[in-house]
Symmetry: C2
Subunit: 406 residues, 2 copies
């Protein structure tokens, strides 16, 4: 019998099970209140709109093209809708700047594949989106800490990357309501990331998965919009904007997008052609139809629900969390990030919580490329109602109080 480890590529050694995915299984246990998932509330899906969209496809002349192979860059009317949508964000672009992917996770995988040779360095925040680390890991990079607004010099990044055996290739960050912290990078921080990338002459990957979900505070322009304003043309920019319909319309269709300068888009289209030909034709058509008919109304509906849940959770944290703990106050998104006293361990707390408090969350360590962050964890409010939040945070607060011994 073949010993597979002897013929797997070296990159496969970094493919490991995802803590988040394993934890999703807990959602099925009825005695557990789960704040672990980062998934949208299915009760808010625009299911009637999708029902109509699919029915219309099968009622019309488009049915044959919906079921057929299509071009790798994506369905043109969807890309046209995105060109208009991006303009509203200050991202002035043309059709050849827009590329459809099978969810923005695929966008991250493709960008890792496009830029990273083994031992090249990706700059990521500590913590960062776990799925980005998983996507990039397949290309065997080193990581260094991106600190928007921080004081690391370009030289220190260059020296660390050379010591790791490669070059810095990009800075990856989520500027709005990031997964896992829910935090926003302010205007100054965005400009500093751009300036750093400029000095290092590398790309910026802007993960905008939660960008539409702002509940209060003033919108801050996307990094790509800031750079277009500065350079005058998207084709002169270094920022690559990754967006998603998973948090606004529905994740099950696997439709996301990348907006960037045309040379990078052209390369990504070739990559997709070789990797999976194109994203589902029929789903791109359905997304285009639902977006066209009522994207803003759908986003307004979600924002009303999620902002209420965020408010409930922030109030419950205030009420139940013991002294010594702290947490973020997100202006949008799905997540709050909790920091325990130094020395405490989120993973151990989870094990105990599942036994006694019966509350699930995601320990923070997996979100840190350097393996730090043991005393942190992530909670999501997107699928929780007021009662669940009150009960769950109450039980969790009591457990932490007992653990700290206050």
């Amino acid at each position: 019998m073949l010993n597979w480890d002897t013929i797997f590529a070296s990159r496969s050694s970094r493919m490991r099970a995802s803590e988040i995915r394993e934890l999703l299984k807990l959602l099925d246990r009825p005695d557990i209140i789960s704040f672990a998932g980062g998934i949208p509330d299915p009760a808010l899906f625009p299911d009637q709109e999708f029902k109509q969209a699919y029915a219309d496809i099968f009622a019309g002349a488009a049915v044959n093209s919906a079921l057929q192979y299509s071009v790798s860059e994506g369905y043109k009317p969807l890309r046209e809708w995105l060109v208009r949508q991006m303009a509203d964000l200050g991202i002035s672009c043309e059709l050849d700047n827009v590329f459809i992917v099978s969810g923005s996770q695929q966008g991250l995988d493709y960008l890792g594949k496009l830029f990273l040779s083994p031992n090249d360095t990706a700059l990521v925040t500590w913590p960062t989106y776990l799925g980005a680390l998983q996507a990039f890991n397949a290309y065997e990079p080193a990581y260094d800490q991106l600190t928007p607004g921080g004081n690391r010099t370009p030289e220190s990044y260059r020296a660390a990357a050379a010591a790791a055996g490669g070059k810095v290739k990009f800075a990856y960050l989520s500027a709005d309501f990031s997964n896992p912290t829910g935090e926003t990078v302010d205007l100054a921080g965005r400009k500093q990331v751009l300036a750093l990338a400029e000095e290092l002459d590398v790309a910026v990957i802007e993960d905008a998965a939660y960008q539409s979900l702002r509940y209060d505070g003033e919108p801050i322009p996307p990094i790509l919009a800031l750079e277009i304003a500065e350079k005058g043309n998207i084709n002169d920019t270094r920022t690559i904007y990754c967006g998603s319909f998973s948090k606004t319309l529905a994740p099950g269709l696997r439709v996301g997008f990348i907006v960037a300068n045309a040379p990078v888009i052209r390369k990504l289209v070739l990559m997709k052609q070789a990797a999976d030909l194109h994203s589902s034709t029929i789903n791109q058509m359905a997304i285009a139809d639902v977006a066209e008919r009522g994207f803003d109304a759908q986003v307004a509906k979600i924002k009303a629900a999620y902002s209420h849940r965020r408010n409930c959770m922030l109030a419950a944290l205030e009420k139940y969390m013991p002294k010594g703990t702290s947490w973020t106050k997100p202006e949008g998104g799905m997540f709050i990030w909790i920091t325990l006293p130094k020395g405490m361990d989120g993973a151990k707390l989870l094990a105990k919580s599942l036994e006694t408090a019966k509350v699930a969350f995601v320990p923070g360590k997996a979100f840190f490329a350097d393996g730090s962050g043991a005393n942190t964890f992530r909670v999501s409010f997107s699928c929780a109602n007021q009662q669940m939040i009150e009960d769950g945070v109450g039980r969790l607060g009591k457990l932490i109080k007992d653990e700290i011994g206050v």
Copy 2:
């Protein structure tokens, strides 16, 4: 402005535009008779069945899960259907041997990613499926020629792979009605590929995209079935079977599958989790429903239509092709492979044909990993009716006659 070439990974230099894809654009020119595409005839899509499947999803309790994130290994009822389907082919397997991908092209990409470190060797036939070369190229392999039934020794493969800077990792082939030649590997050839893989201790990747489309002749067991018969258990096998619904039901949904031993499937599931989370939930549900209700009837319908077209094309080739040309006589699939006299060039012939004969086809060179095969080309009969075939092959035959000067 960033010079992107300075920060692209080395693998990106092998990502080039596909001749086939560029040629697909010709399908839109009404004056051209195209035998170039390798796409299914949309008139044969089971559109009413898909219409019903999507309507049923939205009518029932499954709608929320259809629009939601789902597990990376794929939709369970579809995997269960595949377990039953595989049993009919002599592939006895369990649920954990079946993995859903976004089209079998994605399966090839993942297998390249799983096995190939730069300079490792992939054994492929001369010619082979162009899309496989494109998928594997991203992982920077060397290629060596797989000759099912040929007389190369394992030692010569090992030595060539070592000289290229790596190891042989797998043998890739399509055993039934392959793209581009339409040919079938006979039972002895299949056993010889298995024996070679055994001696080299590497994997076999069996691309079964056209497996269902046999029009005449006796079915030959898949390589994986032969190996299971020999070893007694799929989990002791080295053959990885890649299947597709694109040629039988519809390609636009992007649903394919891999059937293999559990350790390889587990690794692929982790890879998919990091690369695009999962294939479209709603499309997997629709495919499962349509397959469950009438896969065999749909395949019978397609086979009746395509076998007639194949007969027409073989008859037209016999009638119009000049002496000195030869072609394959496929028992299934979508393709016939034509060999011109030595010294002729399929690409130059295409350029002339588009001007004068107004017939499109795919020059053969791109299907050869070593850049040979200039005097070959591929025609597809899947989307052509009798009149188109008669006219197109007639015009092409006349052009070739003029070129040869007979």
